[in-house]
């Protein structure tokens, strides 16, 4: 492993830990401080500190150390985790984040400016510590060699009560070369508890002439006093996990387990046993006994031996075995997920895309050849390719929860700044969507959330006069709806001022004052460029991003945004995004000689062409269905064939018909972006390559539906919408 790779892993891990820490802190803020949450915060800080130590990132270590000290006091119940401390710790988390980013930018020893920023925080943390120290006992000093009869033997050999963890570790030869120093692990371990005894195992050290000065030959037997978990100790050695032999025995383990340890670790059994004795883990008698018996009856499990001898009860052995099993199982669960470079995934998706295109052309040739066996084989292959596609895309799917949870911090901070009391309710965190979409939706959502808090939710005083609870509520929700993911940002504020918006739009020349607009249309104006609620700008919305940018970003993702609002009750912004950006199930339709693909999820049904004479709408089982002719949209020459079809499209609760010549069936569509040349073309969202090698355009359904709606008279459109 390259040190830079390791550093990258560290940086990623730090950022994840900081997110965890923040989430836990916010949860603490919301509810009664609970041990689990405090522990989570502490763990995060602690792990960051430890890992930073490995990379000798001193600024992070020293700062996190202070944070950890405070957290430690909280954890031991000596310091209350109040509002002010939570706010301070959140700020500290941010500072650590900044330091981590600094490292990413190359400031190994800290950007001097950043370090200065950290000082007030350290001072504030110091205040908390000082408060505590006023009535605390002096810090226990580290166990060092104390004058004794036998200074070397620090724990008496006879009283092996083994109430400490026993850690046995042999480092791999490459550890040093990989830039890891076993010393740092041990130093780190020392920060978690007390190293009561260490024995350095030098058995593997070869004769001087065979020594490779850069290989590591050492191992350690460590008696370790602490109140931590096995996993936490394992984590200390996480960076060398694959490169060392690590056995961790919990306090009061069975003697058999120590014997197993002696057998498992390489090194002379007698010497190892001796070391266990010196560590105070075993008494000499216990050791002799266990070793002798083991030699006498090699076939028997040590547990059995001990049971037969009556030194342990059978249940104890069972319990120990179950415990071991649990440990193993929890280990297995941890290793169920792996980190993969996003680039590699993208490459996989691209390859799958190519595979689908190639598969389509093979399919076509097979159909032309009309060999039944071939057709059958191809259809089986096609099913597999489809499965591969789905699982490849699934790999890129991530839950939106992480993105949502980021907002709890934003809401917390912004509410504080605004002096409003706002609660965030999150629903649908489990909803999955493509990673690339998730990455790009964060900023637009952030703006919507800030906007809702700043302009949507009223001040507590105003809320009181309106008879609403003093605490405003902001709801974030996500769910799947016909091949799209829908994200809603809902506030229970005052609603949008329809008349003001309309007046402003007229003033800005966006609409004609005489125009009659529906509420939806008026509200949609706030997303128009040039429409700004300038007189209301505060430091929050003054971020240089207008709502028009939000709309542009969402449109760039092939998504749409809509607003609904009720005066006095609140506003809901609905963002619809396609599930994936890469491959979709498409439906091919033909007009003249051209072929077009429509995302299958957006097709409700296909019906035979019929029309009310002289009108561009049809009667779909008693509903008015406005339609547009694809031939006209793309100005395709030639006469319509007899037996045209209508494809019923559905988008955001609205339906519209699309008149096409022929229906060509389902097709797996790999979306290829259109070049910049076509950026301004309407009704087309991308292109795809057919089995024949021809290019088909992918229709932009939302745009088509809108166009169909516009064509129908407003009254008809409204009737249609309410019917749908």
């Amino acid at each position: 492993m390259d040190i830079d790779d390791a550093l990258q892993t560290f940086l990623d891990e730090c950022r994840e830990l900081l997110v965890d820490m923040e989430a836990a802190l916010l949860a603490v803020d919301g509810t009664q401080a609970n041990d689990e949450l405090v522990n989570a915060v502490f763990r995060a800080a602690h792990t960051i500190k430890g890992s930073a130590g490995l990379f000798a990132l001193d600024p992070i270590v020293s700062f996190t150390h202070v944070v950890e000290n405070v957290l430690d006091k909280v954890r031991s119940g000596k310091l209350a985790l109040g509002q002010s401390l939570v706010a301070l710790l959140l700020a500290c988390g941010d500072h650590i984040g900044a330091l981590v980013d600094g490292v990413a930018a190359g400031f190994r020893q800290g950007d001097p400016e950043l370090l200065l920023q950290g000082e007030p925080l350290t001072a504030q943390l110091g205040e908390f510590l000082k408060e505590f120290r006023a009535h605390a006992s002096p810090v226990r000093s580290r166990a060092v060699a104390t004058p004794q009869q036998e200074p070397v033997r620090r724990i008496g050999g006879q009283n092996a009560d083994a109430d400490h963890w026993h850690i046995s570790v042999r480092f791999g030869a490459d550890v040093l070369r990989n830039g890891m120093d076993p010393l740092s692990f041990i130093r780190y371990l020392a920060t978690m508890g007390t190293l009561s005894t260490i024995e350095t195992v030098t058995d593997a050290l070869p004769a001087a002439n065979a020594l490779d000065p850069e290989a590591c030959y050492l191992g350690f037997e460590i008696a370790f006093l602490c109140n931590t978990t096995k996993a936490a100790i394992e984590q200390v050695f996480e960076f060398v996990q694959d490169d060392c032999q690590l056995v961790i025995l919990p306090p009061n383990s069975l003697i058999s387990e120590y014997v197993d340890l002696i057998a498992a670790q390489h090194g002379e059994p007698d010497r190892l046993g001796d070391m266990l004795v010196r560590c105070g883990t075993l008494t000499p008698q216990e050791l002799d006994h266990a070793l002798d018996v083991q030699v006498d009856s090699p076939d028997k499990a040590i547990g059995t031996i001990l049971v037969e001898q009556g030194s342990v009860q059978p249940e104890v052995v069972d319990a120990a075995l179950t415990k071991q099993k649990q440990n193993r199982e929890s280990g297995a669960a941890e290793s169920k997920s792996i980190r993969v470079d996003a680039d590699k995934l993208d490459q996989l998706i691209n390859l799958v895309g190519e595979l689908i295109i190639a598969g389509a052309s093979v399919n076509m040739i097979a159909q032309r050849a009309q060999v039944p066996a071939l057709t059958e084989a191809i259809s089986k292959l096609a099913t597999l390719v489809e499965d591969v596609r789905d699982s490849a895309l699934q790999l890129r799917m991530v839950k939106i929860g992480a993105t949502f949870n980021r907002f709890s911090r934003v809401v917390h901070d912004v509410a504080r700044d605004l002096g409003k009391d706002i609660a965030l309710q999150i629903a649908g965190e489990e909803t999955e969507l493509d990673k690339t979409v998730v990455e790009k939706i964060g900023d637009p959502l952030m703006h919507l959330v800030r906007n809702a808090m700043d302009h949507g939710i009223e001040s507590a005083a105003l809320r009181a006069t309106r008879g609403k609870p003093a605490q405003g509520t902001l709801k974030l929700n996500a769910f799947h709806d016909s091949g799209a993911i829908v994200i809603t940002v809902q506030d229970d504020g005052g609603g949008l001022p329809r008349d003001k918006i309309f007046a402003k739009a007229v003033e800005r020349g966006l609409v004609d004052g005489a125009q009659h607009l529906s509420d939806e249309e008026v509200f949609a104006l706030i997303f128009e460029p040039g429409f700004s609620t300038a007189e209301k700008v505060t430091n929050l919305s003054g971020r240089g991003v207008g709502l028009d940018v939000v709309k542009r970003n969402i449109t760039a993702l092939r998504g749409t945004v809509a607003v609904s609002s009720q005066a006095g009750l609140g506003t809901t912004v609905t963002v619809r995004l396609p599930l994936t950006l890469a491959i979709i199930d498409g439906f091919l339709v033909g007009v003249g000689r051209a072929v077009y693909a429509i995302p299958l999820d957006m097709i409700e049904e296909c019906v035979k062409y019929s029309a009310e004479p002289g009108h561009d709408y049809t009667n779909l089982r008693g509903e008015v269905l406005p339609f547009i002719r694809l031939r006209e949209v793309f100005s395709i020459s030639g006469q319509a064939l007899k037996g045209e079809n209508i494809v019923v499209l559905k988008h955001a609760g609205q339906k519209a018909g699309l008149v096409v010549d022929t229906l060509l069936g389902e097709f797996q569509t790999v979306i290829k972006p259109l070049g910049a040349l076509f950026a301004s073309s309407k009704c087309v969202s991308g292109s795809t390559i057919l089995g024949s090698g021809d290019v088909a355009l992918i229709l932009d359904v939302p745009a088509l539906v809108r166009q169909a709606m516009d064509q129908g008279s407003a009254a008809q459109a409204e009737r249609c919408a309410s019917a749908a």
């Binding site: 060092v144 060699a145 104390t146 004058p147 036998e150 200074p151 070397v152 620090r154 480092f171 040093l176 070369r177 120093d181 076993p182 010393l183 041990i186 130093r187 020392a190 190293l195 005894t197 260490i198 024995e199 350095t200 030098t202 050290l205 070869p206 004769a207 001087a208 002439n209 020594l211 000065p213 850069e214 590591c216 030959y217 050492l218 350690f220």
Partner: protein
């Protein structure tokens, strides 16, 4: 016994210099004393090298002392509890404590 051959190591005694220091430590005529007072930093590789040198000396029945342990060396020796391995007089934490050789 021949005249003492004192080797003084200065600066870092770490993995970065392990390859360079090994031949010096194992040079002929054999080193009888290693002066560690100038060591500013020592890591596992350094400790390991010292141990190998000591082992080699023991094998050949020669004397090898470490002396003048700098704070950096003391810190690591104490952490790893290896003072006894070398069997030299050590002063730890300003409390006199004599370490006895066990090997």
């Amino acid at each position: 016994m021949s005249a003492p051959n004192v080797l003084r190591i200065e600066g870092e005694f770490t993995i970065f210099r392990a390859a360079e220091l090994m031949p010096v430590l194992l040079a002929q005529p054999p080193v009888t004393e290693i002066d560690l007072s100038g060591v500013t930093e020592i890591d596992t590789a350094g400790v390991q090298l010292l141990m190998a040198t000591k082992k080699e000396a023991l094998r050949a029945g020669r004397e090898l002392h470490l002396s003048g342990h700098s704070p950096a060396v003391l810190d690591v020796f104490e952490l790893l509890n290896v003072a006894a391995f070398f069997g030299d007089q050590l002063v730890m934490d300003s409390r006199a404590s004599t370490a006895h050789a066990r090997s």
